[in-house]
């Protein structure tokens, strides 16, 4: 791939309605040298919480070439523990430094009474949990001085206490807190298989005007003698069923900045760029139909 600076250098501004890729340290060098024509980059915020050093320098060098989004995995918004002030401070510092187009987090929890599991654990969809999430998202948005996007996670269990469906919970959270939504189409698919619901129903209930970003990723199906479960591994290409669901999501929410996530068994940059290009074709088709 030849450097085509004219096409990739962009001013800092709104995120392009194109497809980006998740930024991983092993691609720092090749991104700088190959400058593939991907739409944008999404960094895991915590990977760049350092006070200084090479990782920050790479991020800023890449920031000069591509629009950027910051995606957090460690705020534990759904936990009843207080928000971690240092974590928020580091996020705000990184936000001021890198001027991301989006700042996002998850509809999940990851800590209880000071013990952290560092995983995206599912919420019970109760009125209490909804009020809690609305408050927490509000606290974070007030502290950062900007809107954040909240992403639906893949889950492997549901709580009997849930009074709302996940899509109802997300819709109410967005409307009440003013956050945007990061619709992870693969997570909708994974959870729909694990919890036997129709993913199309899920999509149709998401308030389309709140969706500002879409995630696509690969998953892994684990088959047991009596059951199968789909695990959100981010270790494979996007499957056909998820592409179909993506197409449906785009007809519902319109052309939306999209991200290819691939976080384990990470392939060469060219493979990621090809996945992004594939998603770009869906975006173009949706734009053509809308026009």
């Amino acid at each position: 791939m030849s450097p085509t600076t004219d096409n990739v250098v962009r001013p800092r501004g709104p995120m392009p309605v194109r497809t980006g890729i998740g930024l991983r340290a092993q691609h720092h060098e090749s991104l700088l040298h190959e400058r593939p024509q991907i739409g944008w980059l999404e960094a895991h915020s915590e990977n760049y919480f350092a006070d200084g050093g090479a990782q920050i320098d790479y991020l800023m060098a890449l920031r000069a070439l591509y629009p950027l989004s910051l995606h957090g995995v460690g705020l534990s918004l759904g936990s009843t523990d207080p928000l971690d002030a240092e974590h928020l401070w580091r996020l705000k510092r990184l936000m001021h430094l890198s001027e991301p187009g989006f700042v996002s987090e998850h509809l999940s929890w990851g800590s209880v009474d000071g013990e952290w599991l560092n995983d995206l654990l599912p919420m019970p969809y109760t009125e209490e949990a909804l009020a809690h999430m609305i408050r927490r998202v509000g606290e974070v948005q007030d502290y950062l001085g900007r809107q954040i996007l909240i992403e639906n996670v893949s889950s492997y269990l549901e709580f009997t206490s849930s009074a709302l469906r996940e899509w109802e919970f997300l819709a109410a959270l967005a409307i009440e807190s003013g956050c945007g939504l990061l619709l992870d189409v693969n997570n909708v698919y994974v959870s729909s298989r694990n919890h036997s619901f129709d993913p199309r129903v899920y999509l149709s209930h998401i308030p389309s005007t709140y969706v500002q970003e879409i995630h696509l990723a690969g998953h892994t199906v684990k088959r047991h003698a009596d059951h199968e479960i789909v695990i959100d591994t981010h270790a494979a290409p996007v499957c056909d069923r998820v592409w179909d669901l993506y197409e449906l999501a785009l007809t519902h929410v319109g052309p939306t900045p999209t991200l290819i996530e691939w976080d384990a068994d990470i392939p060469a940059l060219s493979i990621l760029a090809a996945e992004a290009e594939h998603a770009d074709r869906y975006l173009e088709r949706t734009r053509a139909i809308a026009a």
Binding site: N118, T126, L157, F159
Partner: protein
């Protein structure tokens, strides 16, 4: 109906103890609650393990997967993550390994772990502009002994009875495979790790330089630091020691 906090506490209990029953909290839908929780148990374990493997790649190589995984499991039970940022999860691993290995033939794993943690700290520490040595000219000689220095945020000193730098270098991805066998009793090492221009430089220091720098890093006055250096090497040329540690860029500011 359980509160949010009760639900999360019960979930944590079930993650730790597979006999802790949360059946009533979880929708079965064809798969028992325990098997659903087991997926998360595995994810949490794998996430923690891969964070520790990333922080301690040399210890992991030295110890082998089975040993490393076993010890990390015990470590996680005693020192669970206390942050939403998994990069901090390995902070107590060196002291945990000392507790496990002190006095035994694998004690050096703990020293290697200490070295690798220092390396991680140096990688992410703040930048600092270099020290204006000329400013020291304004200090009257009678005040030299009470000078206190600020040391570079991205500098760490690791001393050990084992040849740490040789061990570390032999286990880097690009190191030659057929190197000479390492001799663990080839004598102590004192290594300075300092970041310059995104590159971590590693230097072996002599006993006196190490004692002087260690004392200054811990906030001792120059007078006390000189005493520390002379205590380990009575014949040391401490002026030369000071000049060497200044030229290595370890000191960034001073005050009286």
């Amino acid at each position: 109906m359980p509160s949010l906090h009760e639900t999360q506490t019960a979930f944590l209990g079930a993650l730790h103890d597979s006999t802790s029953c949360i059946d009533r909290l979880v929708v079965e839908n064809g798969l028992a609650a325990e098997r659903r929780v087991a997926i998360y148990r595995n994810n949490v374990r794998e996430g923690f393990l891969s964070a520790l493997r990333a922080t301690y790649p040399v210890v992991a190589q030295l110890a082998g997967d089975d040993w490393f995984h076993q010890r990390v499991d015990v470590y996680r039970a005693r020192f669970p993550s206390r942050s939403g940022n998994l990069h901090y999860a390995g902070k107590d691993f060196p002291s945990f390994l000392y507790g496990q290995l002190r006095g035994g033939s694998y004690e050096y794993f703990a020293d290697v772990a200490r070295f690798e943690w220092a390396y991680q700290e140096v990688l992410i520490a703040a930048e600092h502009s270099s020290f204006d040595i000329a400013a020291l000219g304004n200090v009257a000689p009678e005040h030299y002994a009470s000078l206190v220095f600020a040391t570079h945020p991205a500098a760490r000193l690791v001393a050990s009875n084992y040849p740490l730098l040789a061990i570390w270098k032999a286990h880097q991805p690009l190191s030659p495979t057929a190197s000479e066998p390492l001799c663990l009793d080839s004598g102590p090492s004192r290594v300075l790790l300092i970041r310059r221009d995104d590159h971590v430089e590693m230097r072996e220091l002599c006993e006196a330089d190490c004692a002087l720098l260690q004392a200054l890093m811990s906030g001792a006055t120059l007078g006390d630091a000189v005493d520390s250096a002379l205590a380990v090497d009575a014949a040391a040329d401490v002026a030369a020691s000071l000049s060497r540690i200044v030229s290595l860029g370890t000191l960034v500011a001073f005050h009286l």
